[in-house]
Every structure is written in C-alpha cells, then in structure tokens.
Amino acid sequence: MSSTTNPSAQHTSTIGAIGAPSRRNTELALLAFAVVIPVFAYANVGLAIDGSVPSGLLAYGLGLGLMAAVGHLVMRKFAAYADPLLLPLATLLNGLGLVVIWRLDQSERLQNLAERQYGVFSPSAPNQLLYSAVGLALFVAVLVFLKDHRILQRYTYISMVGALVLLLLPLVPGVGADVFGAKIWISVAGFSIQPGEFAKIIIAIFFSGYLMVKRDALALASRRFMGLYLPRGRDLGPIITIWAVSLLILIFENDLGTSLLFFGMFVIMLYVATERTSWIVIGLLMSSVGAVGVASFASHVQARVDAWLDPFGCYQTSGACEQIGQSIMSFGSGGVVGTGLGQGNSDLIGFAANSDFVFSTFGEELGLAGVMAIFLLYGLIIERGVRTALAARDPFGKLFAIGLSGAFALQVFVVAGGVMGLIPLTGMTMPFLAAGGSSVIANWALVGILLRISDTARRPAPAPASNPDAEMTQVVRP
C-alpha cells in the first residue's frame, strides 16, 4: 500500500498497523464444523456396515467435542492471537483418523487375521482415542507452560544431545524393539514408543538455534561456480555430520523414513536460513548418493526398493511387496468418488492396515476427491506453519516454525508417496490419521508449538512504555 497523496487537495494519508483481530470466534465455528464432519463419517460407517447408527455415536461425538472445547478454551486463555485454522484442521484430521481406525476394527478379515496371529483381537480405536486425549493434554501443556518459544533457544545444544539419544535409543539392547525389520521402537513399561516422532521436534530446536547463529557464515562465505554459490569446505561440516547421522539411522535402524525426514528437514532449514539454492542441490545429491549406496547392501532397504520398482512382480514372494500391491489396488478401486465409507476392501492389506496403510482406506472409500481434500487439509496446516514463520519477528521463531512445518510436510509426502508407490515405502505414519500413540501425541505437541509461535507473531505490539512528552526540553544557551 502506498501513501496516496493528492497534491492538489493537500490531503495526506496515514499508514498504520491494523490491530489484528484475535479470530477466536472464527476458530470456534470451524471447530464445531470439524467435530460434526467426523461424527457424520462415524454414522456413515455404522450405517454402511451394520445398517444402523452405531451405539457409540453420542459418546464419540461428545469425546471429540470435549477435546476440541478444551483446546479452544486453553487457546482463548493462553494464546488468544494464535492462528485460527491450525486447531480445527488438526481436530478434523484426528477425528477422521479415529473414524477410519474404528471402521477397520469392524472388519472381520482383520479380526480373523489378528486372532490367527496373536490369538486375540483388540480394537485400536479406544486406544487411539486415549492417545489423542494424551496428545491434546500435551498440546495444552505446551500452550500453558511454554510462554515464549524463545526460551527453547537456550537449549540448543542440549536439544542436539537429546534428539541424538532419542534417535539412537532403539539401537540400545534391551530397550529397543525390532518390529518387522525396522528398529525404530523402544518399549518402556509395556508401551512401545517411536522416539523418532518426538526427536523431530527436539532436533528442530537444535537446527534453528544453530542455524540462527551460523547462517551468515554459511550464506556469505561462498564461491560462485556454474551459477551456484558453493560453500567453503569447512562450512560443509554440519551438513556432512547430519548426513552421516541419517545414514547411520538408515543402516542400523533400517528406517528410510526417519533418515529422510531428518536430512530433508536440515536441508530445508539450511535453505531458508541462507537463501542459497546450492544447499538444495548439495542436499539432493547427498541424499541420493546415500540412499543408493545403502540400498545396494542393506537387505531390508533392498526389499523395499524392489517392492517399489515392481509392486506386482514380486507380489507372491515378499510380504512388503504384497502390501504395496494391495495398497495401490485399493487406491485404484476407489476411483474418483470412492466406494463410500465402510464399503471398501482396503482391509485386505491386512497387517498395518490402520497404521502405515491407513491412507489406502481413505483412498478407496473416499476416492480421489476425498484424498485431494485430505491433502488440502494437510497443505493448509503446512501453509499456516509457513505463514507463522513469515510473520514471526525473531529469527529463531522463523526457523523453528519453518522446520516444524517442513518436517510435517516431509512426513506427509514420505508416507503418502510410499503407500501410493511414488517412492519406496518407509516406516512412518500419516500425522493424525494413523493409529499409533507416539505419532498423534508428538504431532499435537508440534501444533501446540506452532500456535505458540503464531500467537507471539500475531499479537499486537504493546504501546511504547516511555512517553516522550515527559522528556525534558533542552534550553538554548546563548
């Protein structure tokens, strides 16, 4: 906006900041909508499977509504100016995830499969509801106790150590658990936890604190070569370290997703901090070299790559292959508008149908139209995260917000790409949709931190403290 001056009339204009509205009422309306949609879906599943409205409808609706209400009231009290969209979007995705997990619990095929394999079938939906409530509790705790995200800046290097410990915990004998080839789980007191989900938030603190200090050195000291600004050799140290750590994760934990997430997140933040395209090129080169190198000798990764290259060719030979083939078929049979909730056959995927492959059920029962809507919901969360980063006034907050949204985006891409056969399948879970406690809890915390940064960024600036009128007038001395 420019200062529109009309010289003839001698009118001038004042440009002032608009007092940002808090938008809490908008958020409340959207939240109500976001609770109604999953309740509708729940009724739809019940009608399709049993021909009657499920008995738990009221309880489910009240549970989700209560969670949303608690989140909203806490926002009103502790983050009044935060973004109005993040909480409704997360609530909607979490609610839809719960409905689809409950729908897969009703599947006789999956019940029989579980009874054959473990002797007993236990439904996942009640657990998931519990995890969502724990996640929301963590969300509330973040908003209540984290008054200012800049406090986290003090813990830059402690975060690095903490994240590395969390990432390497699954390798410790006795704590780590090898679940179907990937060692990304630890079992504590009967619960299995995926520490990588929490490590992604903690390592974002380290990356932002570190890059905030070092970005000038990384951005300015460079040589120009073939249109790219190449960094000096010694400035390559951090990216090589992170690359090595992510390769170690890939080799020893057999998890492509986690290593891709960490390396990708670092490259995104490096790019944002330095504005140098060369980092993206270097990062892509290093990750492809690493991935190809590891795939040539690690058998677990090799199997995933084979299944990705030819999902139907190895259909009869390998378990991982079978799942990808079935997942692709369920996306295909969904067509444009889907088979309708509760009326698909995505339960044929069998194992991990409600966690790693939950998106296939969405693909089959909601079709292309539904999948696109869900992608847009994720895209809106990411967009709000990036918007928060743009609005944040402090460099740490900017980098932190971009790191969290970048990690979220990468996770969605890696999982959705994996189940659709775009990239090799990885052991990550769709944020908010998939069954799994760690994922839901960590992502609620992530949204909480984004809202805290957003609140700080959007809060109107306080009035200047000192009144210049009260200053002394200087006396002209003759």
Binding site: A9, T26, L30, T473
Partner: protein
C-alpha cells in the same frame, strides 16, 4: 440400509469435506490484512485535530521570497524549515497546536521545542493569531520573541526551535 441412502451419504460426505476446505481457505483470505490507509482529508482534520501532520509530506513548495500576499485570509500553514519541511495543514478555523506532545496538530520532533509550545488560532474577525504557551525556548515571529498573542502578518515566518512555519494563501 438402502443403496440410495449410502450413495447420498457418500457424496454428501465428500461435499461436506470440501466445504470445510473451502471455508478454511476463506478464513485465510480474510486473514490477509495489511496496513490501514487513512485519508487525512480536511474533514478529518476538523474532526480529529490531534492527528499529527508528520507523515508523508506532500511535494515541497519553494518559498518565494516573502510569499504572496492577498486580500483574503491565508488558507494553509506551510512548514518551510525543519524536519517537517513541506508539510501543510489546511486552515479552516480550527486551532492548531504545535509542540512535542503527541496530540499536537503539528508534532515537532525537536529537542528545542516544548511539549505544548505554541498555538495558532483565528480571532473573531478571522485574523490568525499566534500565541506562545509558556515554552522554554520561546516562539519567534519575524525574529522577535513573542510575549503576547500576536496577529500573524502576511508572509511572516514563525520560528519554533529548528522549525519555521508560515501562513500562506
């Protein structure tokens, strides 16, 4: 459950899902607020005289030695020297206050000006009067320090600290 009901629910669900997405995008759209541009026209000048004339100086007009005189009363006040050089304020019968205070008509960002330094107002005949409001460093009209409210002669510069103003037709 009949096939028809399920089909309607299936399509209805997709519609509701997309409706949510569209509503969310609308919220983003309404969230794109920038800065507020307020026209400080003549009408507002009288309504809220405290809006300072400090921003966006209009094209500067060179002082043409002594200024033009006319039979009619001056119509505007022009700052000819100082930080606010070029700023004009329309004279429409309202009192103009000058000083460092934020609610002055012309806010002087000048260490040598007092908070409430001087005011310029029309008397009953429409003659503009300048009055020093007990300032520390004084107000000068035509190089003489003011002691009483004085009518402003045509083209006479009024000096306050580093700022010089003048009434023009």
């Amino acid at each position: 459950m009949s096939e028809l009901t399920l089909t309607v629910m299936r399509l209805g669900f997709l519609a509701v899902l997309w409706l949510f997405v569209i509503v969310a995008v609308q919220v983003i759209r309404s969230d794109l607020f920038g800065t507020r541009v307020t026209q400080r026209g003549a009408r507002r000048e009288t309504a809220r005289p405290q809006q300072g004339a400090r921003q966006a100086p209009p094209p500067q007009r060179q002082q043409s030695g002594g200024g033009r005189r006319g039979r009619n009363a001056p119509t505007k006040l022009v700052v000819t020297e100082g930080i606010l050089t070029g700023t004009t304020v329309a004279l429409q019968g309202q009192t103009i206050t000058l000083g460092r205070a934020h609610d002055s008509t012309i806010v002087l960002d000048d260490d040598y000006a007092s908070s409430r330094h001087a005011r310029i107002y029309p008397d009953r005949d429409g003659q503009w009067i300048v009055e020093d409001l007990g300032s520390t460093n004084g107000t000068y009209l035509d190089r003489s320090r003011l002691t009483t409210p004085t009518p402003i002669g045509p083209g006479s510069p009024i000096r306050i600290g580093k700022t010089v103003i003048e009434l023009r037709k």
